[in-house]
Every structure is written in structure tokens, then in C-alpha cells.
């Protein structure tokens, strides 16, 4: 039938494209690496730069993952960065002001305290997620405004609780330092790329990715972002599912706060400042549509990597840090423009 034939070629185009979408992002990443390597006279392509990029990736990825879930569901979360700040500060507050621990506790001795810090940070994130959910599902405030409100409130509380200064407490920097393959002399083979915490962040991302692409949770997220009315008619409880999404998002942002705590050796109220922009940028660069219903975890993983590679690359070739935000803004605009063009050409 004519119908069938048309749709099959259309389908092939779509499939070909989505297959290419990830490949395309990897290609962009490779090109960036080549460009920065040549502009920096080769120094960009080194294990130390690689591990720095991955450490930064660990700091951003969970916020980007949280943002991806929200964006696919058709919402937006402006509060992820402030949630990170608040979580890292409450974790620091409990250890420093609550348990009177100091930065003298280090190494393995700090682990029990760090476990508690992780718990406090995640619970704080969950709390912000719960507030977001109440604002959105019960008070029916649109996500943009609801999360703008929690953004302001969380950022303010982070400053109040910390007194505006970082709360220095116990930490174990070996958790954030790259692991080396044992037995190889680091002076000859520098294999240190992944720190234990980066590996943890990657595992968390993997788990959320599986929930997004293989489980009911993900299907409902796409369904709601695609057509709320259809999702409701299919019997999905929109409020319950969006609550889950914002809770997961909050918990992920809280865990990112823990990462920031370990990295800094304390809770700083400015750790997450401006990071919502990066989370949204990584999500959009990764191919998620701000209209909802479209996006993939792989895209976000590589989108975050692209963002950080650009940042580090610009820094290495001597572009002033002040340009960072502008570059991020251009990348967001560029990614959305590409999406719009693709849509216009009927690729999606």
C-alpha cells in the first residue's frame, strides 16, 4: 500500500537519524578534541587534562541527568544548581556544626562522616524535589516559575545556613583523585582517568538511563512529555509520575552536592551557582527537546562531555573564563536551532 511504503521510508530515515544522533555527538566531541589539541600544541591530549575533564563531568552529569528527565517529561527545572548548593551546605553543616568534625579528619577516617554527608545531601535534594512537586502538582504552578521560586529559596538558604562561607569539614580526596591501574608506573603509563566518585556518578547515570529506556518509569516520562492528555487517558497518574521525576531530580542534585562537598572538602554555598544553565545546555546539546517527549541518556552524557571539553579547551588556549557563559549560551541556542531545523525538514 502507498501508505505503508511512505511510512517505511520515513521510518528508515528516522531510525537512521536517531542512530546517527549519538554518532553525530561523538563526532562533534572528537572534532573538538582534535581542534583543541592542535590549538594547544598537543598539551590538550593528555591524561591529566582528560582526568580533569572527567572530574568536571562528574560534577555536572547528575544535574544534567536530572534535567534530562524533567525536560523529556515536558517540564524544566531551574532549581538543580541551587539544590546542589543547598545540599552541599547542609551536608557540611551537619558534619561541622552538628558533629563538630574538622578538616583534620581525612582519609578512611572520614568515610563514616562522608556517608552521613551523602545521606544528608540526598535528603536535602529530595526535600527540594518534594517542594517542586507540591508547587507544580498541587498548586498547579508551571514548572518554570515553580522551580524559579525554589531556585531562589534554596540559593538563599544555602547562604544563610553556611553564613556565606564554605563549611570546611572532613573529606577523603583520594575519592576524587583518579585511580591508576596498579602495577604500571604512572611516570611511564599515566592511566589515571577515573576517580572512584566519577565511577559512582557514571554508575548512577547508567542506572537512571536503564530506568529511562528500559522501564515503565521512562515510558511514562516520554508519554507525559509527548502528550499529557493521551497519557492521562491511558490511565497514567500525571501528578504521581511528575512527583517521582522531581523527587529523583532532587535526589540526583543532592548527590551532586555530595560530590561537590568531597571535591572541595567542605560545603560551599556557591558550589552550584549557575549550574542550571549548564544542565539545561548539556540536555539540549544531547538532543532533548524543550517541547518534551524527546531525549536520550546517551545524548546527555556526551552533551555534558562536549560542554566541559569546550570549557577546558577554551581555558587551555587562553580564552578568558568570562567568556564561558557566553559560549554555553551560544551552544544552547545552536542546539535548539539545529533541532528546529531538523523538525522543519521533517526528520523527527
Amino acid at each position: 500500500m502507498v501508505d505503508g511504503k511512505q511510512s517505511i521510508s520515513f521510518r528508515e530515515r528516522i531510525q537512521g537519524f536517531t542512530r546517527n544522533q549519538t554518532a553525530l555527538l561523538v563526532l562533534v566531541l572528537l572534532i573538538l578534541i582534535v581542534v583543541f589539541t592542535s590549538l594547544s600544541g598537543g598539551t590538550f591530549l593528555s591524561t591529566s587534562v582528560g582526568s580533569t575533564i572527567l572530574t568536571d563531568w562528574g560534577a555536572y552529569i547528575l544535574l544534567a541527568v536530572a534535567e534530562t528527565l524533567v525536560v523529556i517529561s515536558g517540564g524544566i527545572d531551574l532549581s538543580v544548581g541551587a539544590t546542589l548548593s543547598l545540599s552541599t551546605v547542609t551536608a557540611g553543616w551537619v558534619l561541622v556544626n552538628g558533629l563538630h568534625l574538622t578538616s583534620k579528619t581525612t582519609g578512611v577516617d572520614a568515610w563514616p562522616a562522608l556517608a552521613l554527608a551523602a545521606l544528608v545531601a540526598v535528603l536535602t535534594g529530595l526535600l527540594v524535589g518534594a517542594v517542586n512537586s507540591v508547587l507544580i502538582n498541587i498548586l498547579k504552578i508551571v514548572p518554570f516559575i515553580a522551580t524559579l521560586a525554589t531556585f531562589g529559596a534554596a540559593a538563599g538558604m544555602a547562604i544563610i545556613i553556611s553564613g556565606g562561607m564554605p563549611l570546611q569539614g572532613p573529606t577523603d580526596f583520594s575519592l576524587i583523585n583518579p585511580l591508576r591501574i596498579p602495577g604500571l608506573d604512572p611516570k611511564v603509563f599515566d592511566t589515571g582517568l577515573f576517580s572512584p566518585l566519577v565511577i559512582l556518578m557514571a554508575l548512577v547515570t547508567l542506572v537512571v538511563g536503564l530506568f529511562l529506556h528500559k522501564a515503565r518509569f521512562g515510558l511514562y516520562t516520554y508519554a507525559i512529555g509527548s502528550n499529557v492528555f493521551a497519557a492521562r487517558a491511558a490511565g497514567i497518574s500525571i501528578a504521581r509520575h511528575t512527583t517521582k521525576i522531581y523527587l529523583v531530580g532532587g535526589a540526583l542534585s543532592g548527590l551532586a552536592g555530595f560530590y561537590a562537598y568531597v571535591r572541595l572538602g567542605g560545603g560551599s554555598p556557591t558550589s552550584g551557582t549557575g549550574m542550571e544553565l549548564y544542565a539545561i545546555a548539556a540536555t539540549v546539546i544531547g538532543g532533548a527537546s524543550l517541547m518534551g517527549g524527546i531525549g536520550r541518556m546517551w545524548g546527555t552524557v556526551i552533551g555534558t562531555l562536549i560542554l566541559i571539553t569546550v570549557q577546558s579547551g577554551l581555558l587551555m588556549i587562553g580564552v578568558a573564563t568570562d567568556w564561558k557563559q557566553i559560549v554555553v549560551a551560544v551552544l544552547i541556542a545552536g542546539a535548539v536551532a539545529v533541532q528546529t531545523l531538523q523538525k522543519k525538514n521533517g526528520v523527527r
Binding site: 500500500m1 536503564l210 515510558l219 516520554y222 508519554a223 502528550n227 493521551a230 517527549g293 524527546i294
Partner: protein, 250 residues
């Protein structure tokens, strides 16, 4: 005559001061297609939303298979066997055919979606309706034509073991050939023993496929006619209100 599959008695629905359904009686039978016609704003969609549980009625009695039921949410209506194909096509563009057909009723295997099993059942359901226009059940709905989308929506009701299928303007946006396809599907549903209610503005469609015709006029049921015993002119007269309150509650 056999007992109706669904019977509404004196159902009412208001939005604030506006009475949209003013005590409506209505029934539909298994194995039959019942048309629900009426002018824009007559209350057809509102009547349907009450049946699907999306927007419960304010008052009146609803009986399904002879028992009184209270339709308060879609899941519950669906568990009784009432499924609706909405006018504005309740499909998710970014999901594929299988995902759409199983949405809200996914099959799981060890906590993950059992894609293979769902794909198999989806294909079987479409085959039971002799659907040949859909080549792959893994294409996204955004790539489908209007007729194919209706096919998916109707196939979904079969998959859900519906007893009563309600279609709100299923052919409104379709061309001639696709309309024909969808009407054939509708007839096949009834021939398979399901009760079908179809809302339509197109009297040609109605006369082609329906056994009974019920006419709503400004929130009142003004006629219930047997298709073979009426004419288009008569139906139009009821729709436009030039002929009123005959053959109701007979």
C-alpha cells in the same frame, strides 16, 4: 430486544451555571454500532467523557451489562471494558505503535518492559482487525497518517479486551479512502461482538455503518432512531431542532 450493554438514565452535567447535559437517556448494544449525532456544542463529547470516566457525570444512573456502575476515572471505566478513541487522538507522537497500544497496560518481565511480548500482541490485535496498512509496529506515531493513527487507536481497544468502544469523530480529519478504512474497522469491531458508539458529523458515514442513531440537541436526547427506519432528512431535522422530542424513551 436484548438488554443494552450500556444504559444511561437521566444523566446530568453542568459546568458552573451552564447545564450541558440536562437529563439524558441513552443506550447501546453489544454487536451494534450506535451513532451519537448532534450539532456543535450539543454535548456529545461531554456525554462521552462521562462514559470514559474522564469527566464524571453530576447525576443520573449508569448501568453496564445490567448492573449500576459509577464511572469516576478512566482506569475504572477501562477495567469494565469501556474504551474511548478520542476526537483529538489520544496518542503520543514520540512513542511507537507498540508503546502507544500498551501505554498504561505495559507487560513487564523482571521489572523491565517486555518489548517482544508486547510487539507480538500488538501485531496480533491489528491482524484481528485485518489491518494491512501498517508496515512496522515499531514506527513512531508521528510518522503515521491520520487513518493509520485511528487504526492504532482502535487496535488498542481490541488489545484491552474492550466490550464497549466509543469513537469521537473518528473520520473527521480523514480523506475518502482512509475514512472507508476506518469505517470498515468500526464495523468489524461490532461484528466481533463489541458494542460501538460513534460520534460523527458525517451522516453518510452514520448511515453506512450504524445500526441506531441517537440525536442530542442542546443537552437533551431528542431522538433514538433505527437506521433502517429513518431518513437523512429526519435526522437532520432532529439535529437542527426543527423536529423535537419524538421517539424518545419509547
Amino acid at each position: 430486544m436484548a438488554e443494552p450493554l450500556i444504559r444511561l438514565q437521566q444523566v446530568t452535567k453542568s459546568f458552573g451555571p451552564v447545564d450541558v447535559l440536562k437529563g439524558v437517556d441513552f443506550e447501546a448494544y453489544a454487536g451494534k454500532v450506535t451513532a451519537l449525532v448532534g450539532d456543535n456544542g450539543a454535548g456529545k463529547s461531554t456525554l462521552i467523557k462521562g462514559l470514559s470516566g474522564v469527566q464524571p457525570y453530576d447525576g443520573g444512573v449508569v448501568s453496564f451489562e445490567g448492573r449500576e456502575v459509577h464511572l469516576t476515572n478512566p482506569r475504572q471505566a477501562s477495567s469494565l471494558g469501556i474504551e474511548v478513541v478520542y476526537q483529538d487522538l489520544a496518542l503520543c507522537e514520540n512513542l511507537d505503535i507498540v508503546q502507544n497500544m500498551f501505554l498504561g497496560r505495559e507487560e513487564l518481565k523482571q521489572g523491565t518492559l517486555d518489548e517482544a511480548a508486547m510487539e507480538f500482541s500488538a501485531i496480533k490485535a491489528l491482524q484481528s482487525l485485518s489491518v494491512r496498512t501498517v508496515k512496522s509496529v515499531r514506527q513512531k506515531v508521528s510518522s503515521l497518517s491520520g487513518g493509520q493513527r485511528q487504526t492504532v487507536a482502535i487496535g488498542r481497544t481490541v488489545l484491552r479486551n474492550a466490550k464497549l468502544v466509543i469513537l469521537d469523530e473518528p473520520t473527521a480529519a480523514l480523506g475518502v479512502a482512509q475514512t472507508e478504512q476506518v469505517l470498515n474497522l468500526v464495523r468489524r469491531l461490532a461484528d466481533n461482538g463489541l458494542g460501538v458508539i460513534i460520534i460523527s458529523h458525517n451522516l453518510a458515514d452514520v448511515f453506512q455503518v450504524c445500526d441506531y442513531i441517537s440525536v442530542l440537541y442542546l443537552g437533551n436526547m431528542v431522538a433514538r432512531l433505527e437506521t433502517v427506519k429513518t431518513t437523512r432528512d429526519e435526522v437532520v431535522a432532529y439535529i437542527t431542532g426543527t423536529k423535537v422530542l419524538e421517539g424518545v424513551n419509547e
